[in-house]
Symmetry: C2
Subunit: 493 residues, 2 copies
């Protein structure tokens, strides 16, 4: 007994510089010793006076900690006889604390396994951009956002009815926002739709995951652009889908190749407005061919229209969804590009025949988008700020693309700037013997962020290149960045 009491006293470490209160440290230290078998059921604790002296804390602190453990049932006070470890702990075997949960990582369920495989194979975790500048992809012009309007709408939201702003919202999203999105899609994108078809999601990424979980069984074949977007790929892979890489040319996804490789596909994922990452616009003929193929296979199509609002050519091309007479297309939009990424807000537009299924999904899931974010975005749209912002950003991105063309004069002949008329990224094509990885690394060391084309590939392609974002870069940054790149490409790094 004496020995155990001695062991107890010295093994409690009190860190006087820690933020955690000494009393809490003592309580947790005592508790851990009891739970891990350092003191056994029936063992008597030293007198509080002794404990206080040896640990060098006040007696009140010791008494408080012991009282708490008595209240919790781990210790028992016997009147006039001191404090004992509770008999409840009789059957507790001393165990090694913090045993690893290895069996869960070794015999992973399929989803965890698929996910780990997907992220390890294709998409390193360092991916998401978090600083602006040349040539970061996927970030819009944060500096040009009308933050004053936004702050005003945000403050107004907080002055609303408490039930509305604080309570549980509608599972599929705020009706005001769904109406605003339906109006925008009808007016600006030529998509006939109504608000019941619209489901608010936490960004496009969540939409892809939810679509995958509703439409895909393990082993189902998914046509996927190669190269193509990374986020949706992981979402479908995590469902155990079999990804079928389909090549892309100037007209978009080569549908005939898909029909040949995988006639019984279940889903096709495409970015028709602005192929991610190559930047091509899918031709009308190809769009009709894809719709026809989906109809024949009774498959669905996911249209990711991530930056279709930013077409700065002439007349924008109509979304696939707008010519989808057979209800084969689920249209996915995001506010990450039109507003900003930290909103984590997107939406999907599903055919009438699938509304019920997604309603069930969302009823079980509960909407994941905070009401504040939905409400502010809805007001932003209803009051016309959204349309104004889109128009201004179209001009800005067009000007920044012109700066890209201008700055590309620094580049050697082995480099070709890709053409684009939409969004805020384009390709920088390289010679077939270029070393993308090395170039990306060397550019990074010189403060220029570029993404290698192969990061977007399911299977390797011959073409070498860099994906260059220009949304969040000033013309000066673009010019300086291109000079840096030029030096590296010229020296064949």
């Amino acid at each position: 007994m004496k020995k155990q009491q001695g062991a107890l006293l010295t093994s409690i470490k009190i860190d006087r510089s820690a933020r955690k209160k000494i009393g809490v440290q003592l309580y947790m230290g005592l508790r851990d010793i009891i739970l891990t078998g350092g003191l056994m059921a029936g063992d008597r604790l030293p007198a509080t006076r002794t404990l206080a002296k040896e640990i060098q804390v006040s007696r009140t602190t010791v008494i408080d900690a012991i009282d708490r453990l008595v209240a919790e049932g781990l210790l028992e006070s016997r009147v006039g006889a001191g404090t004992y470890v509770s008999e409840i702990l009789e059957n507790q075997r001393p165990v090694t604390p913090n045993v690893d949960t290895a069996q869960f990582t070794e015999t992973r369920p399929r989803l965890a396994h698929n996910l780990t495989h997907a992220t390890e194979t294709y998409a390193p975790r360092s991916w998401l951009p978090h600083t602006t500048g040349a040539f970061v992809t996927a970030l819009p012009a944060l500096d040009a956002f009308p933050m004053a309007h936004w702050a005003r709408l945000s403050a107004r939201h907080l002055r609303g009815s408490r039930d509305d702003i604080m309570g549980y919202g509608q599972p599929k999203g705020l009706l005001q926002l769904r109406n605003a999105i339906a109006t925008h899609l009808n007016a600006s994108r030529g998509i006939r739709c109504h608000s019941e078809q619209i489901f608010i999601t936490a960004g496009a990424q969540q939409a892809f995951s939810l679509i995958g979980s509703v439409l895909l069984n393990a082993g189902d074949q998914v046509w996927y652009e190669n190269p193509g977007a990374a986020g949706a790929r992981n979402a479908f892979l995590s469902r155990g889908a079999q990804m079928v890489p389909i090549n892309v040319d100037k007209d978009g996804l080569i549908v005939s190749q898909g029909v040949q490789k995988s006639p019984h596909f279940r889903l096709a994922f495409v970015t028709p407005s602005h192929q991610q990452p190559l930047g091509h616009v899918m031709s009308l003929a190809r769009r009709l061919e894809l719709l026809d193929a989906a109809n024949t296979a009774q498959a669905m199509i996911v249209e990711d229209d991530y930056d279709g609002d930013f077409y700065f050519g002439g007349q924008p091309h109509p979304p696939l969804k707008s010519i989808d007479t057979q209800s084969r297309v689920i249209y996915v939009g995001t506010f990450s590009k039109t507003l900003f990424p930290s909103l984590r807000l997107g939406f999907m537009l599903v055919p009438d025949g699938l509304i019920d299924t997604f309603d069930h999904l969302f009823a079980s899931w509960i909407s994941t988008a905070p009401t504040s974010v939905q409400s502010i975005v809805a007001d932003f749209m209803d009051e016309g700020h959204f349309a104004t912002h889109i128009r201004m950003m179209r001009r800005l991105y067009s000007a920044r693309y012109d700066a890209m063309i201008d700055a590309s004069k620094h580049m050697p002949d082995s480099f070709t700037l890709g053409e684009t008329k939409s969004g805020f990224h384009t390709m920088g094509y390289l010679n077939k013997n270029a070393d993308e990885q090395n170039l990306v690394r060397a550019a990074g060391e010189n403060g220029v962020i570029v993404a290698p084309l192969n990061r977007y590939c399911l299977t390797p392609i011959a073409q070498k290149g860099l994906v260059l974002g220009f949304g969040s870069s000033t013309p000066e940054q673009i010019n300086a960045g291109m000079k840096t790149l030029a030096k590296l490409v010229r020296h064949k790094i």
Copy 2:
């Protein structure tokens, strides 16, 4: 040809009272006719002048609509020869528009099927509370929230660095918030943890879904309290888990029954601080027994501590996680009760051995909680408002529970108010022959919202009762509500 032109002209409906511009209506009307085969490849359009006259719109409007369709490639202009439907459409078969996607709902993938089954069988969609008052469950005291502090923090957030407040955040959540939560759990709940173990989720519900997707394969057995929480149930059911209902007594989940019914369980879901919905606190002996059973079966435990911060008895009971020496427990918390539901913010604390797996999941998923919400909550915690609010709410809910006891004097003897020392709901036990459904309906018609106990059951239990929330009700509302209930119970409705 003449005939087709006639058909075209009359089938376009222009609604002059609609919000949609007439030009857009005309464009969409023409487009739909072309796509659905009302006009075939090579067909010639009437002269713009003729069209304008017959549809009674200006010629400019007609020209604009046709120009757009030419730009999109659906029409072709031949100089001096008029406008024709594009040859691209040659292979388009006339199809019936808006075909139903029946094959997707008939041959549903497992997840969609499970979800539909789960929500249809157990949890109707009308469930989520959205108005305050007697006796709405799951809603905290919205009226007592320090909205002025909140608004100030919100405004300050919007004055921060644009990269920080607008860019992509960390996949597992804002570090500042994860630190604040770890500090709170260490200091207030006695849980030793660090911020890498914490993953920010869009409410507890998303945490349950993600846990299910990582740990469960179809057919895995899950111990589930009967009666028990509804949200987590749907999340696990949607993974195809086999739910094993385990009865609950005053000491919480009857572990011995679980061991007998399902010794090889994979997961146990419990609400030890405040059993949902019965309100019992799980005894220490039962907690140790559960940890032991999980260890033997190499299973994991999900601890849903949804209102453990609101213990208004004496010393709060320690969470299961705080005595989890074997890393068997995933602890799930929510801000829906401590702050408010529309935040859609929660978190989970996973054992060190599972951090990697969840990091992969979140890397693929991207954090779904907006930075603004995370940042404001983190400041709210760091500046002490959170602790102050919790302390005030503890007193408020204690007072509101006293009002419940006081008002229950109106009730007949066939009604017994359940005891509780935590949170903001309790039971109203009824005679075994009471008709819960009828009572719930009749109460609702009289403006009193109550939930039937059977809604929380996986398998029927003999006990009849109502779940009564008192978080968002004033003492006056509680008194009036109880009078209404008394009348209904007395008349055996």
